[in-house]
Symmetry: C3
Subunit: 451 residues, 3 copies
């Protein structure tokens, strides 16, 4: 006989019945702003966002009136903007028996033009589109979530919009296909070359550009890539050396997340879980297109060791910071810091800004200087070493670890000072503390007013 459920089952049920719809209402209320995403009320789009996130923001120009056929588009634009017409003429779109014309993607009514979203491209290129969307399953970092996560991260609201605009230029890889296949040639051959990736994948925190071109692989590409046949698919035996896409989008697969072990180097992972062992075999299999399996395995083991070494250093720094926090020696204290965008200092359950526990989103601003030091050690220096390790560029391993060593030393020295000052000033207050807020609250205040 079934036992009656205990009476207190109703407590969580009632809470859920209230909080789930409340959550939906909250998200909807937020989305009611002029921007997109959870923080849309704190966040107004710039005009240029129309081109980076066309689905949310693009509005057609209305200077030209009428419906036009593809041939008519080409006729006018050959004189107006010959560059893009020339590109189209070189594209496969113009060479099909049934040509893909301008209006097939942009619409025919000139007052209601639209910028093609991935869905528009995906209406023909179904497999690629599906593979791309499938990346979302693997979470962030990923191309497919790059825009959504950017607009919905608290630290983007804290940042001046003039700078966030620079971020979105790359994050728009999620919302339009011409980040990699430049309009209007939309060439597969182009996207097979490393340059297609480097506009975004360069500099801290992801020096993929620098590390690939310093590697033997990149060197071969630079020296003789001009002579390779880029019309060939990315498959065993077709290329003398790999490019970004050859390894990360093998066989032309339009997603990069399913073979990822170290997840951008941001977290320490256990490289030997059964899931990661399967991924490792996929990598060794791929490397074996050219290399001996043993060699490939040894290289991956070296990467494991480099990562372990890096995380040893990061944990040493984190330990110091945690002790400072426990002793109340951080300046300013977590509760003295400016609140988060949707939060307020007077809230009952205020969410404390702490640089090193909360990850990327909260570590940029309004933490203490020493937490910012750790942020740079973790996000810039650690990731530089990681990319050097992953891409076969020893110079970035050396540079990254050297920088981490220096940061660790700096963090130790600062922690000692903070400790001494904390002891000294237990009664007299903290005015003479040499460590200041990384960025004053004014920084955030200013942005909220002007974003």
């Amino acid at each position: 006989m079934s036992k009656k459920p205990p009476r207190y089952i109703w407590v969580p049920l009632i809470i859920a019945l209230i909080s789930v719809p409340a959550g939906f209402i909250y998200v909807n209320w937020n989305k009611g702003g002029e921007g997109a995403g959870l923080y849309s009320r704190q966040w107004l789009p710039e005009a240029i966002f129309a081109y980076w996130n066309p689905k949310e923001f693009y509005q057609s120009v209305d200077t030209v009136v009428g419906e036009f056929s593809g041939e008519q588009c080409i006729e006018c634009h050959s004189a107006l903007t010959p560059g893009i017409v020339n590109d189209w003429k070189k594209s496969l779109h113009s060479q099909l028996s049934e040509k893909v014309f301008c209006n097939d993607c942009h619409g025919s009514n000139h007052e209601q033009l639209h910028m093609p979203t991935p869905d528009v491209c995906g209406s023909c290129h179904t497999t690629q589109h599906e593979q791309f969307q499938d990346e979302k399953r693997f979470g962030f970092p990923s191309h497919a979530l790059a825009m959504e996560r950017a607009l919905d991260a608290k630290h983007f609201v804290d940042k001046p919009k003039a700078e966030v605009t620079a971020c979105l230029q790359c994050h728009s890889v999620a919302t339009k296909c011409d980040s990699c296949h430049t309009r209007h040639k939309f060439s597969a051959a182009e996207a097979r070359r490393p340059e297609a990736c480097l506009t975004c994948h360069s500099g801290p925190p992801h020096p993929d550009d620098e590390t690939y071109f310093h590697s033997k692989h990149g060197q071969l590409y630079l020296a003789e890539g001009e002579t390779w046949d880029w019309s060939k698919p990315l498959r065993k035996g077709n290329y003398p050396a790999p490019t970004c896409a050859y390894c990360h989008m093998d066989e032309g697969k339009h997603q990069v997340a399913n073979k990822s072990i170290w997840k951008f180097g941001i977290k320490q992972i256990n490289p030997l879980t059964s899931g990661n062992e399967i991924k490792r075999k996929q990598w060794i299999n791929l490397c074996s297109d050219c290399h001996e399996a043993d060699w490939s395995e040894d290289r991956l083991k070296e990467m494991d060791k480099e990562r372990k070494r890096a995380w040893n250093k990061l944990y040493l720094a984190e330990k110091i910071l945690k002790e400072l926090r426990a002793d109340n020696y951080l300046y300013p204290l977590a509760k003295e810091r400016p609140p988060y965008p949707t939060d307020s200092a007077k809230d009952l359950m205020q969410y404390e800004r702490i640089g090193f526990f909360e990850g990327q989103a909260s570590a940029f601003y309004n933490t203490s200087a020493i937490e910012r030091d750790y942020f740079e050690m973790w996000y810039f220096e650690n990731l530089a070493a990681y990319k050097g390790s992953a891409h076969g560029d020893p110079s970035f391993i050396i540079k990254g670890h050297d920088a981490m060593d220096k940061s660790l030393e700096k963090i130790k020295r600062k922690a000692e000072k903070l400790h001494t000052l904390g002891e000294d000033e237990k009664d007299k207050g903290r005015r003479e503390n040499p460590e200041k807020l990384w960025f004053n609250g004014e920084y955030t205040e200013y942005n909220r007013e002007h974003n």
Copy 2:
């Protein structure tokens, strides 16, 4: 009836009658040194300057005697220096019905050879030469004034000559044409490519190289530039993506200054003056060779915003420095600093060295450490952000602003210390002040003796 002019009109007139000729005499006296320009008495040319500023310094080798025809030059030099003869053979000069031979530019008498100045090239290439000289109308920064302003800037006298030599290697763009059209092919096609510019336009304070190659434009050039037809003029429809020259020297115009709005990012300008509005339209018109006008306008607006944001940060820093100065808390005080090259500490009207009011020329050396910090924030970090903004490289916007944020933080922290120290030491003198002269006077003294 006309009123008699007041008697004191004679006072300024007499001053002018004395000071104008005195100024001329002073400049002439200065030019009487062994160098060139206003500071020639403080400044001796190095042997290598003969090649960078041939008009002022080149003296022919006299190892070979006699007059030679062009054919004779070629005959000997095919064996002696085949590289340059090969280059000439590939040049248009050698393919004309009336060939331009070595002696047409260098002279026929081997004991009186000269290095061709822009005037020599300009005797045939009139339009290009006139356009180039026309840049001078727009003031500095410009190519045409690069050498003159370099030799006539005080801070070049302060600098060790071994380092100034490095500066002049690029500044010689004003005094010879082969900076862009490498001898002896003098190719227009070469100068259309970005590499022609990057030897000089790279690194701080002008990372044009880095920002162009990170942009989508640069990426396209890198990936497929080899297949473009570089013999075509820089005109709408001829190139799939722009290079430096396509945008800055559109239609092959040999000057880059007339369309410049932000003037290298060095000063804050009002981008919306009527003059700048006209330039903006020229830019939008140029971008419209490939892009929609709306898109181009939005991109330029983004740049305005980025610039405004950058200047907000710079003004915050400047305000701090001005307050320190007003409170006499800078160390050393402006009047304690080593005098300028043509000045002396005993002069009646000594010109004070202050880093942030006087601009580039005085900010390199002999200012306080905190002024030097501002100099780096302004000249390196601000300009990096500017170039990223102008060339479509978001990574440099982010890097530049991040660096400016750090500098601002550093300046604030140092200013607080200086304030505390200034208060403490009002009686006891300033020996314990931790901020030292950026470079001691000894630095300048040493250079004056050895330059």
Copy 3:
């Protein structure tokens, strides 16, 4: 008549008779470890070292059994690893009437395969091999000694192995030929291009990559290198602009040490010794393949001046450090530092770690912070300026000297603080000294346990 030798001649003789064999025994005992070289007992090889130092560490895979002919190798590996078979097919090895097959270099017995050492390649390419080995005569730095010196340098034992692995990736240039002639094409044309060198020759302390590509030479290569005929030998008239190999391995000579004047910029040398004057003439002769001899001489003189200027700065810094040391103001004192790997704090004749007297090997770790500052000034900033000077990249001269100026300023400021603190704390001990060990002894301790 011959005089009898004095009796005390026996003293050094006996010492020699004991110490020489003792030295041999010591070295042998050291080599008895699992690594290679003097420090083999402190040093275990990683699996990947098998590929970088095959002579010492490679052991054949034993998954496949049997003896195979070259044709059989190709047959299987066309399916297994088509990339390397394709490379071989493009190589000269496959186009000879008597082909060089896989088994000619790797052996025929699949259970006893070996990785080819320079000796294997040298059995056919005798001249090149002899020239390469001949580099050893000129000492370190050199390619031929790169591995041996790396494994036999004390500071490699101090360093974490995960990082040393990055070092060895380049230092293996001594122990295998495919660092420059990538397997399995082994192309001479490839090695003539700059990319063959840049995988290793980039970044601090040897930004050859950066400085070459910023120079006019590099710019010409980038702009038009694709059209040059790389099958031609490196000889006068064959190339429009030089590459690394053209100047440093002129006429294809397989060693780079015999024409070296400044020896990597690490030491100040007298550029005007008779030996260096001969080398200078060789350089001028080489430059004269394209340039006027006078011009070339002037450029080299500029380099002399730049070097002198750099060493002036370095000596100023060194003087400060020597004074601190004499006054016992360094923290920690030399005798307080962790001992060297083969040394112990209790040894009778302990070898003191001092950053700036002992050169590279001891300056990385376990010195004081101010000595590390000098290390960076000398090894990174000075060498950046040197490479800029040598390769015709003015921007690196400026950057390098600017960085050295900043370091010198920092060293002065720190030295003043150390002096003040040293005076203050003569009785109370040194606990409050803000200067800490660059890396604590724990750093080395950790590595010894885990290396």
